[in-house]
């Protein structure tokens, strides 16, 4: 009887250890099952939601597309430069993420402005420079109103819209969305909360390990 207990305990311990290193981040968003037939048996595949192709101007007035993010994991958010509510807190936190993964060729950051009229690429450039961001690892992008608000709502599942009752006329959520190399959503973190951003950094490390293992 005692032996059994020891065995059960050791199994538990071993399992808890392996679990820690093996856990993968969940895949978020909508999914649909697709049935197909393999060797006469019906198999169900799950198709996960992915980010649709996009094309925007970045802070250097260069067109960037989803192709620039191929083979990389990235974090996306929505903001505008004259926002004085949650954006400064978000980008103070995002700056920590930027510093942690600076010059890592597998990591990019993508901030979409939702102030289409005011935040032209030149303004985004000034903003990035003042924030202390150089190069194009962290892209600040400007697109048409529809393309930005659509990709926010349908692809990144972040609420962002124009609202005349708001003092600044624009309302948006402060989520940081983690996207993997397959363009799937792997995490959503409140960018205004320091502990969630710490979790994001830890999860990015985890995702990078997963991607490296998949490549082998």
């Amino acid at each position: 009887m005692k032996k059994l207990l020891y065995i059960a305990l050791s199994i538990l311990v071993i399992q808890s250890c392996t679990n820690q290193s093996d856990t993968k981040l969940p895949i978020l968003g909508n999914r649909e099952p697709v049935e197909r037939t393999v060797d006469g048996k019906t198999v169900v595949d799950t198709i996960y939601q992915t980010i649709s192709p996009f094309s925007y101007f970045n802070q250097d007035s260069v067109i960037i597309t989803d192709k620039d993010f191929d083979g990389k994991i990235y974090v996306a958010d929505f903001f505008f430069t004259s926002c004085n509510t949650i954006c400064p807190i978000m980008h103070r936190n995002m700056l920590d993420v930027y510093k942690k993964f600076k010059d890592n060729p597998k990591v990019k950051l993508l901030s979409h402005t939702i102030d289409i009229k005011y935040d032209l690429p030149s303004r985004l450039k000034t903003y990035a420079t003042k924030l202390g961001v150089e190069g194009n690892q962290w892209e600040f992008v400007h697109g048409s109103r529809d393309s930005i608000f659509n990709i926010a709502a349908k692809n990144y599942l972040v609420s962002a819209f124009e609202d005349s009752s708001d003092p600044q006329g624009l309302v948006h959520q402060g989520w940081f969305i983690l996207v993997d190399t397959k363009k799937q959503l792997r995490g959503a973190y409140d960018g205004t909360k320091a502990d969630q951003v710490k979790q994001l950094i830890a999860d990015m490390d985890k995702l990078l390990r997963e991607e490296a293992a998949d490549e082998k």
Partner: protein
């Protein structure tokens, strides 16, 4: 004999107690300003200037430079109420941006904010009351 002890005790300690209670009232006012100021700071200023008063890059200036805050103390009330667009230099770094005004803040709120800011982040300038703020605001450009 016992009465004499009590008289001597009272004679000696009443002035001490009186002085101390006076100081306490001043320091209570100061503490009240400071605590209320902290709440107002969190609501109106902290997003940009940060919980540690360090600002953010060169987008938002820090509030940690005692020299600037001492030299411009009379301007602080106007800056908080009406915002600021002019270029400023802090610790040899140029800041060019637009700080929005806060018309919703009363004189007393501004006084409490100034007490909090000029006594936090490495600053130690002491009390600043509502009357001084009203005087500063009257002189706004």
């Amino acid at each position: 004999m016992r009465n004499r002890f009590i008289y001597i005790f009272l004679f000696l300690f009443i002035p001490v107690i009186t002085i101390q209670s006076c100081q306490n009232e001043d320091s209570i006012t100061y503490k009240r300003y400071f605590v209320n100021g902290k709440g107002l700071y969190e609501k109106n200023c902290q997003n940009c200037h940060g919980a540690d008063g360090k600002g953010l890059g060169t987008l938002y200036p820090p509030l940690t430079d005692s020299t600037y805050l001492i030299a411009n103390k009379q301007k602080l009330a106007c800056i908080i109420r009406n915002g600021q667009t002019e270029q400023i230099t802090i610790n040899n770094v140029v800041y060019q941006g637009k700080m929005p005004g806060n018309n919703n803040l009363a004189d007393i709120d501004i006084a409490q904010l100034i007490v909090y800011i000029t006594n936090s982040f490495g600053n130690k300038q002491g009390q600043y009351d509502q009357a001084e703020v009203a005087r500063d605001l009257a002189a706004c450009k």
